[in-house]
Subunit: 315 residues, 2 copies
Amino acid sequence: MKCRVCKGPAVIDVRRHNANFCPEHFLKLCRDQVTRAIDQFGMLTPGERVLVAVSGGKDSLALWDLLLDLGYPTDGLYVGLGIGDYSGSSADHARGFAADRGVTLVEVDLRETHGYDIPTGAKSARRAPCSVCGISKRHVFDRAALDGGYDALATGHNLDDEAAVLFGNVLRWETDYLARQQPVLPARNGFPRKIKPLVRLGERETAAYCILAGIDYEVEECPMAGGNKHLGYKEALNAIETTSPGTKQQFYFGYLERAAARFTAGEDDTADGVDLSPCGRCGSPTPGEVCAFCRLAERAARTQPVVAPARRVAS
Amino acid sequence: MKCRVCKGPAVIDVRRHNANFCPEHFLKLCRDQVTRAIDQFGMLTPGERVLVAVSGGKDSLALWDLLLDLGYPTDGLYVGLGIGDYSGSSADHARGFAADRGVTLVEVDLRETHGYDIPTGAKSARRAPCSVCGISKRHVFDRAALDGGYDALATGHNLDDEAAVLFGNVLRWETDYLARQQPVLPARNGFPRKIKPLVRLGERETAAYCILAGIDYEVEECPMAGGNKHLGYKEALNAIETTSPGTKQQFYFGYLERAAARFTAGEDDTADGVDLSPCGRCGSPTPGEVCAFCRLAERAARTQPVVAPARRVAS
């Protein structure tokens, strides 16, 4: 197995590119793909300040490393979700990366700042933990990016993530979600610009990037995510990708090229085409009087704390 | 397990309807679903003459039976594909049904009429057998429906088929195919009206219908279809359907309700928006001088016949 670029010994094959790479040229491939995504979708201009949402896992740490490497002044944001040992260990990995690189990690602990954690929030709202976690993180991310005056908020969504989300949106023909499934969402109405620079890399590649770049990441999956639909969508796409490498890339980028405009046509610049006004509690844009986050947080903060499930080792 | 309708002993559960049925009310469910599809999409008006494409398998024989039962004057059309024992056995089942019911089965043998069979056609065209079979059957179906003066050509595509085709079209964002993926295509430009009255029934239900209605169908799968992408799409959707019953129905009908119009907008009434003129050989509408079927048939008829693969028992 030889590197496509230098013909030296290869350490990884990337089947959808039908190519193998040595460590040096694999790391270059990842940088090139991120540069290409940033340029292709107009995510950033040189020198812009970025806040990257960091979970301590492979995707977000690879993204932080790549953005620093490409010269963007980038701080990290870690949100303490209160999911038992998993959160403790994830935080250690995020802090370890920041200390190693001498960069700034902003930390927001949900319980300290908002009086609840994800297990308790899920119980009090009677919703799936992934749903409560999504509402919570989006709020904290948006707030931190705006308050810190960053030009963009970056998240570590990779090609596998985006393809699985697209699959779920298509299975239910969630036309509003389809209209907003873009690798970059411009700043608007009190929301920061949101970018996903890893959309050209699969999760196997972000894991390999971390290993080859010497980044120590949290390898466990969240113990509360087991059995969620998103994982089922990933498995279904993985089965097809195995026999037809490149299917996910074709699916996701084909959507952006040939279908997305059919769902955004007629959308105005408010979320879901609804008028937004500031939340009476936190000031974030919301279609109601109090935003979904503040309603969740108020209820959850009154609920007796519950204990997170035990660790779940990634398969 | 009790029948939802009469509370008598049930013999089948239909998970996406969250209900069980006795034989009598299951057969009624199937008739009701076909009636509903015909009405919902304006497929037929009472008394219209139908030609149903019959393979000898569960879907097409169930469809023929249901259309007769609903009072539509319906003839069958069997196309001899020359796929070894499989074709022989399939023909026997189609003929058996016609003899039992005292109805007319039109037969067209590809080799007798057009000088080739599917194994030879696939070899000469260097294409997948399923692709060659599709071109061949569409031509024979269209011709027979027009020549016989039928009001519509009906095919036995069920919900699982349509969901899998939709999935394949979406994975590649085949916008032309998406624009035409409808349960009814009106007659136009030398094509007959085409209808799919089984879109509200899954393949497990058409099989159960045949068993409960005493229809002896071909249970083998085509030995040349193994490993095709369509089967992979079905498996992927089946995995999701198992954990979330109703996903396929939501996917297919959600497409028709909320997304299809986004792909047909701007389409004109020619196939693919291309001007069609009569094929120089057969007169069928084609964008070129000679249609794809005649090009295939002319090349295949000059090729040394090849033998079909051995039987493949359905899993």
